[in-house]
């Protein structure tokens, strides 16, 4: 092959590449120019209607009693609505990332209800991705909602969120292997090196660490947050913390890989390790709620309202609580469940039990602090 021929071929290849690139840019120019920034539109109030047709719900895993006698089946029988119940919310951030492009365009991906933790509900609302709810459409809900949840700081008057379940973040301990862990500070004890996990969720892990240092998360400054994050980061680097988990810390507990995990109070049903128990840290826990919200572009809002009304009936709520063992937002459930469960402080916590607990809050400078935390979690 002559050298001349080779170089011509090379030039041709480059020319083709350039042509392809120009073509690509041309096609690209037909697209939209803005990315992100919220939809910036007016906040709509969700319009109700008769409950019929089809309903798609996105919820966290393990948050419903399944099967032919479960809540979904009962609702379908009761109302005639066919329900697609998808358990694809594994993490607030990841779910947000997945849905954001569509929400930006005013679409909800076919879903009529999301279930999100308080702060994420607020974040979506601020970005204009949620619809507001008219109290008049949900009489049962507002009649049965426990008073303590009627006016949360992130949504006074419950304009866009309806609580699904509440819970507490504390420490799951394998009492056979680490009986003396009673505070979050004990989790940093070197003798448990490599045998503890933290939650990926910043608003679960970091406030606990701050509380253990004597800082009130609701009043914490950026420096307080960063100091706590540094402490966790150092523990991660030294190998003290084995991993940052999502919902799956229960697997590690069950397999015997860890002795302690920052985790959620209601997970008893999925922790099969007989020695593991959830402990309220001596300095208190973190309180949170997961809420049902109606996204923009939600189809069949009437059916969504029907669902919300249904699950706020005390009998239905009681069935739910018996299975998922989290704290119900519905008044009167305590009298309807099995007596053993009614006495369980984790499911029906008394005010004294929760007196040291704090609600989940966001740091003043969310971007920077979240970025620092993400760096720690990502390794």
């Amino acid at each position: 092959m002559e050298r001349g021929g080779r170089s011509t071929k090379g030039v041709m290849a480059v020319a083709c590449a350039v042509a392809a690139l120009v073509l690509a840019m041309g096609i690209a120019a037909c697209g939209d120019d803005t990315v992100g920034g919220g939809s910036g539109g007016e906040v709509t109030v969700a319009k109700g209607g008769p409950a019929k047709g089809h309903l798609t719900i996105s919820n966290w895993p393990g948050y419903i009693d399944p099967g032919p006698k479960g809540t979904v089946a009962e609702f379908e029988k009761d109302s005639g609505v066919s329900v697609d119940y998808i358990e694809d919310v594994n993490d607030n951030n990841t779910f947000f990332g997945k849905m954001q492009p569509q929400l930006e365009q005013g679409e909800s991906g076919g879903r009529s209800i999301f279930v999100l933790t308080d702060w994420m509900a607020k974040q979506m609302y601020d970005l204009g991705y949620l619809q507001e709810i008219d109290r008049a459409d949900l009489p049962t809900v507002f009649e049965n909602l426990v008073p303590s949840l009627e006016n949360p700081s992130f949504d006074p008057g419950r304009k866009f969120s309806i609580p699904w379940q509440s819970g507490m973040t504390g420490v799951w301990v394998d009492t056979a292997k680490a009986p003396d862990i009673k505070s979050v500070n004990d989790v940093f004890d070197p003798k448990y090196k490599g045998k503890v996990t933290f939650l990926e969720e910043m608003r679960d892990s970091v406030p606990l660490v701050m509380k253990a240092e004597g800082v009130d998360p609701e009043e914490a400054t950026n420096e307080d947050w960063m100091k706590a994050i540094d402490k966790v980061g150092a523990a991660a680097d030294s190998g003290q913390i084995r991993a940052f988990t999502g919902n799956n810390y229960n697997e590690e507990l069950n397999a015997g890989n860890i002795v302690a995990a920052i985790g959620w109070s209601g997970d008893a049903s999925i922790v099969s390790n007989p020695n593991a128990e959830w402990r309220m840290p001596t300095e208190g826990c973190v309180l949170w709620s997961d809420n049902m919200v109606i996204p923009v572009g939600a189809p069949n809002v009437g059916a969504a309202f029907g669902w919300m009304e249904f699950v706020y009936e005390p009998e239905v709520a009681a069935d739910l609580t018996e299975y998922i063992t989290y704290v119900s937002p519905v008044d009167g459930v305590k009298d309807l469940v099995k007596p053993a469960l009614a006495k369980d402080q984790l499911v029906f916590p008394s005010p004294e039990f929760q007196e040291n607990c704090s609600t989940q809050d966001s740091p003043p400078d969310v971007e920077t602090v979240s970025g620092a935390w993400a760096d720690v979690v990502a390794g």
Binding site: A28, G36, G37, N93, T94, K98, G194, N257, G371, A378
Partner: protein, 291 residues
Amino acid sequence: MSPKQRLVPYWLLGPGLLWLLLFFVVPMYFMGELALRSGTLTSGFTFTWEWSNFPDSLSGHTEQIVRSFFYAGTATVLALAIGYPLAYAIAFRAGRFKLLLLFAVIAPFFTTYLIRTIAWKTILSDDSPVVSVLQTLALLPDDGRILATPAAVIAGLTYNFLPFMILPLYANLERLDMRLIEAAKDLYSSSRLAFLKVTLPLTMPGIVAGVLLTFIPAFGDYINAQLLGGTGQAMVGNVIQSLYLNQRDYPEAAALSFLMMALILAVVTVYIRFAGTGAFMGDEDELERRA
């Protein structure tokens, strides 16, 4: 050739090229464009020719990049060490069972990547027999573990990408003309020498293809690190995934993605030049050159 005949290859290529152009090249352009934006999701990303995203993402994540090289490189070397003898055995010593064995190699593919890796997580868990055996053999300290260590991630990578190494090796070994080895032996060469001087050089294209097909996806993988690794084992793939889906810092994610591709391209170019073969790019060119 008639003008119509000249157009035939273009008709044949058309659909495929169009698909690749629309759904590979164009997205790359968008990713590049995204990499030059700045801002946040809540306030919007605006196009500001933010070239600093590139060096920033590089310096912020050097540790993970180096780690990815190390893990993927080690996994590739291990895969080669394990895979070459296996491919050789299948090509020359398997007889009737050739295709069956080959299938046994690909078989794991048919049980979702995730399930395979989770199975390894169970096999290697702290209380498992495997770890106990290793502890008794003193290969592990008494309270040692495999999971959440680099070893687990490398083991996972090696296992999951072994078929990518074996198949090209096998394809190449199978075409080897045994008569060349016989000729070498006739010329009084020992088996080992015959292997080194005849087989190995002739199978170089297969080795190159296998190494590349293994290293490249391993470098960008994040599942193994996520499932089998712990806090100190995050790879570049984990960071990119976190940036895109968790932090929604799209510009930094896009910049890092481009950097990763550039790094891979650099490694591939150097390697191909060093190993010297057109096996990866176009056999028919090589064939023509030899004809």
